[in-house]
């Protein structure tokens, strides 16, 4: 018994130190970043596109817009392919093929992001430049790269959500004479919708936070993009690009960029958590 307690205590301390690490990070970036937001004025900081650290202008609107544009387009790509894969793997695919395909998709998660970025620069960027025009480094290029990067997240969580739907729903619908596809999109997808929403939002969190691959294919201009062929700079790439040199106010402004990113990701994760909980609750009440 005494041993049990000791182990429980030790584990509690380990768990606590992990959480306190997170708390320390939070306190640190807010401490470093908030003063400059207050000093520049939140209006100027968040709504101006004038980022010129050497003359003391810190406006991150173009980067917020850039992050949003890239993330939304990436999620369109990631959702279409990810959800499609989840449906095929879960409902239509012969089990033998699924046993090969699923690990392959999960393998995508293990590829380092520089590799994605590099492949993007060497293949996708020149293709866009040649066939669609513009510099090639663009919202579209980043979205395609990110869309592929979020595939494993979206696919595996959507698959779990689909699998959590009681099998009796499927059987009932088929017994009523519905085809497999009708059953999938009218019964299964509806029943699993909150789980799928959580999958998309978690994928979105990854897309917002991705840095290296985006720096390589986004072009990093300071202009708000007007179309998907325009280059953009995201919040993450702004930090990573300028972190090495920044000092004084510039450094604080990068931390403030981090604060913005932190808040966005916190909101996304909270929404995902709430959705997942609601999904679980619905499952029980039925």
């Amino acid at each position: 018994m005494k041993q049990d307690k000791l182990i429980a205590l030790a584990l509690l301390m380990v768990a606590f130190s992990a959480v306190s690490g997170l708390a320390l990070i939070t306190v640190f970036i807010f401490k470093e970043g908030l003063p400059i937001i207050v000093k520049t004025g939140p209006g100027n900081f968040f709504l101006s596109s004038d980022w010129d650290p050497s003359s003391g202008n810190f406006g991150i609107f173009s980067m917020i817009a850039g992050s949003l544009a890239v993330t939304v387009c990436a999620m369109v790509i990631g959702t279409v392919f990810g959800l499609g894969l989840a449906i095929v793997l879960g409902e239509f695919c012969p089990p033998g093929l699924a046993a090969i395909l699923k690990p392959v998709v999960e393998l995508l998660a293990g590829i380092p992001s520089v590799v994605y970025g590099f492949v993007g620069v060497v293949t996708i960027v020149p293709l866009i430049r040649t066939y669609l025009g513009g510099p090639g480094l663009s919202v579209l290029a980043s979205s395609i790269v990110l869309g592929i990067m979020v595939l494993p997240t979206v696919t595996s969580i959507s698959m779990d959500a689909l699998r959590a739907v009681p099998r009796s729903y499927w059987q009932g619908s088929i017994a009523l004479g519905a085809t497999k596809w009708q059953t999938t999109h009218m019964v299964m997808l509806k029943a699993a919708k909150s789980g799928i929403a959580a999958a998309i939002i978690l994928g979105m969190g990854r897309a917002v936070g991705e840095t290296m691959a985006v720096i390589m294919v986004a072009g990093n201009t300071l202009e708000v993009p007007h179309g998907i062929l325009d280059p953009v700079r995201t919040l993450t790439s702004n930090i990573a690009l300028e972190m090495g040199y920044a000092s004084g106010q510039h450094r604080e402004a990068l931390f403030a960029t981090g604060v913005t990113l932190f808040v966005i990701i916190m909101i996304l994760n909270t929404v995902a958590l709430v959705m997942a909980r609601r999904g679980a609750g619905e499952g029980r009440t039925r």
């Binding site: 020149p126 090639g136 480094l137 990093n220 201009t221 300028e242 090495g244």
Partner: protein, 262 residues
């Protein structure tokens, strides 16, 4: 954010390791000078096996900060010191580097004036036909804020004017090279020593960008590579310093495409 913290931890560990071998001369700063400094350090250590030299990148400004905080013996700086920095540090020119203006070989423009170059980067000149090239958009490529190469370019070409917000930003000489290589509308600037045969260097005000012209002072887009210390360097640091400025050290730099200090 996790990534950032991880980087911070790594730096802390790196600094910790550095402290444990305090006999090595630490040289920190500009990524433009880093490859040359590494080469010099290699040769120096081969000749003086008992002495050590550690070279780290991080950027010109980071190098200066490291010297100020006694984390490095020598800082590498690829731009002139700012007025407020001049009093604080002692700087020595170890070599000069030309700033080459590069375009895609398909681009027919051979010659630009400084004025035209400035126009291309402020965004006032939007079409190559305005400076004698084929009809088509101009895509200026710049380096990230704080880069020594960028600061030199701003100092030498832009003056008080700002680089267009529409210009693409790349984070290394290599990335600029890669982009200009593939895009016939692009124009970029980079270290003269690093331009490869796949890019074309543009004449500025009629002067060919070569090491000879930089040394003669006729090619105006040149910047110093500085070694920066605070006060007198320690004996070990001074020894490495002397090696870099010696005939042999200067010859090495020259063979790598740089221009000697004097």
């Amino acid at each position: 954010m996790l990534r950032l913290c991880f980087a911070a931890v790594l730096i802390a560990i790196g600094a910790g390791c550095g402290n444990s071998q305090s006999h090595a001369v630490k040289v920190v700063g500009s990524t433009s000078i880093q490859p040359f400094a590494e080469l010099l350090a290699e040769q120096y250590v081969a000749q003086n096996p008992t002495l050590g030299v550690e070279v780290q990148g991080g950027g010109s400004t980071a190098g200066l900060q490291a010297v100020a905080n006694d984390l490095a013996d020598i800082g590498m700086c690829s731009r002139l010191l700012k007025p407020e920095e001049e009093g604080e540090y002692t700087d020595t020119v170890i070599a000069r580097d030309g700033l080459a203006i590069v375009v895609n070989p398909e681009n027919s423009v051979q010659d630009l004036t400084t004025e035209q170059l400035r126009g291309l980067f402020t965004g006032k000149i939007q079409n190559w036909s305005e400076v004698g090239g084929q009809d088509g958009p101009v895509r200026p490529i710049t380096r990230e804020e704080g880069s020594g190469t960028r600061e030199s370019f701003v100092h030498l070409v832009m003056g008080k004017e700002r680089i267009s917000r529409r210009s693409l930003t790349q984070e290394s000489n290599g990335a600029v090279k890669e982009l200009v290589k593939g895009d016939s509308a692009a124009i970029g600037y980079m270290s003269l020593g690093l331009v490869g045969p796949e890019l074309r260097k543009v004449r500025i005000d009629g002067v060919e960008p070569t090491a000879e012209n930089v040394l003669a002072g006729t090619y105006k887009l040149a910047r110093p590579f500085l070694f920066v210390t605070r006060g007198t360097p320690g004996a070990d640091a001074q020894h490495f310093f002397d090696y870099v400025l010696s005939e042999e050290g200067q010859k090495t730099l020259e063979s790598e495409g740089l221009v000697r200090a004097q």
